[in-house]
Amino acid sequence: MTLSGLGDGLNARLRTFLQGLALPVVLLLLWEGAGRAELLPAGILPAPSTVLKTWEEWAFGSGGFGLNPYSGTWFDTVLFSARRVVQGFFWACVAGVPLGIWIGWSALAARSIDPLIQGLRPIPITAWLPFSIALFGIRDMGAVFLIALGAFYPILINATYGARDVGRNLIRAAQMMGASDRDLVLRVVFPNALPAIFTGMRLGLGVAWTAVIVAEIVAVKSGLGYVLWDAYYVGRMDVVLADMVSIGLAGFLSDRLMLLVQARVLHWRTLSRG
């Protein structure tokens, strides 16, 4: 590729990026304009500039006294939620990956475990809320349980698929080189399932952010979900909107992080023919 060709590629990417940015910017401007012209009920839909100001106060304000109890608490709030997501996601991986590999590899495991999981899966995590609160009380454990449960299914199902997907000749090749069943699982089935496992983990991470908000609204007294509902109750829609944007941002960034890890681990997949 020539240097100018490289520049063209960069220009094309920039153009694509700007094209994607146009619609959101236009909508934001319309929204801002409508807000300033007092066409919108400010108590329900505050203008973007108000939301931004609120977020600034929330993030960098000093002390949470008086009329603004949120002032300066944004980082702590995000950390509360992120910690729960990380914990729940961790346990979902610890349980989902080995179990999925096992179900995908062993016909016996598939026959004996899969029906139970397929039977439980249609119960949405929101339906688990009362049970979770009854079991763990209004504590972190309840939220972590819900997040882990929600992220568990996509991770498990994709790991199962990835393990089942291993080519017969790959297994045979390993066997003729002297692989034991243990070698087959650890050195053939598992690496073969890794791309699918990453797909499952990305889906699971998305579910984890959904689950943490639900759990914090109902079952714990901190984090982005708690602030979201609390702010709604006291009529602070500016905080609600800033909170929503924060959740989206956190989900987006964690997915990007996941993609980075994936690109590193699966580097053999991203190489083009040389």
């Binding site: 080519g167 090749a173 080189m177 002297g178 070698d183 690496p191 073969n192």
Partner: protein, 264 residues
């Protein structure tokens, strides 16, 4: 040709796949492969030749008949019987070097004990400089070179090759055939080579067995009287062509039509 030194001995091998419509893939197969002999099994697709190879490799069990490998009963698949697959069957997440050394590594051999030999083998099959490449970065012919290298490193008693060059273009196939001739003539190990290409069978093998289809049987045994070392120039040799005509005639008689096999 049945002697005590046979590497593989089959008698009355039968393979039927159960099901609503049972399929008999092999019926009453008798075959003796001498120690150090290069045997080609030639037959149209669906004649059960891959099934036969899988039985020798230990991947599948015969429904009836007896199989002896090195005078003993067949054991589970293992490094004494190396297999080169048609679709290379390399691990895409491992580099060329790690694919080649997969065998010794899972057998917990010390790295120092096979590292040099692995490099020699990689150089021998012409992959020097590609040690750190991944399979997706290689052409079809190069992948088959990796598949052959990992088998060579295992130093097996028996090489089983299941149409290893079947998916390659004509020119690459000739290169690979020359490579295999060169390697085999230095090692002199027992080989069972499966192909549907008459030229390939004659060029490589000491003995060509022609198989018939549905159910698969051994139709004829054809010793190849070409001197070693061989090279691809022999493809135009008169002895070569005489044998080629003879085998083609057998196949025509068998199939009743001329286009059943062969690449011409």
């Amino acid at each position: 040709m049945t002697t005590a030194a046979n590497a593989v001995e089959m008698s009355g091998i039968e393979k039927t796949y159960a099901g609503r419509n049972p399929v008999t893939a092999l019926s009453d197969v008798d075959l003796a492969v001498g120690d150090g002999e290069f045997v080609a099994l030639l037959g149209p697709s669906g004649c059960g030749k891959s099934t036969l190879l899988n039985i020798v490799a230990g991947f599948e069990q015969p429904t009836a008949g007896s199989l002896r490998i090195d005078g003993g009963p067949p054991r589970r698949p293992g490094p004494d019987r190396a297999v080169v697959f048609q679709e290379s069957a390399l691990f895409p997440w491992l580099t060329v070097r790690d694919n080649v050394t997969f065998g010794p590594r899972i057998q917990r051999h010390k790295r120092g004990s096979f590292e040099q030999e692995a490099q020699r083998t990689i150089d021998l099959v012409g992959l020097g400089g590609f040690e750190d490449h991944y399979p997706d970065q290689l052409s079809g012919g190069m992948k088959q070179r990796v598949g052959i290298a990992r088998c060579l490193l295992m130093q097996p008693k028996l090489f089983l090759m299941d149409e290893p060059f079947g998916a390659l273009d004509a020119q690459t196939r000739l290169q690979m055939q020359e490579l295999l001739l060169h390697v085999w003539e230095t090692l002199k190990r027992t080989v069972i080579f499966i192909t549907h290409d008459i030229d390939e069978a004659i060029l490589l093998a000491d003995t060509v067995y022609v198989m018939s289809a549905r159910p698969g049987r051994i139709r004829s045994r054809n010793p190849v009287d070409l001197p070693r070392p061989r090279d691809v120039d022999m493809l135009t040799d008169s002895t070569f062509n005489a044998l080629r005509r003879d085998i083609l005639r057998q196949i025509r008689e068998e199939a009743g039509k001329p286009e059943t096999l062969g690449r011409m």
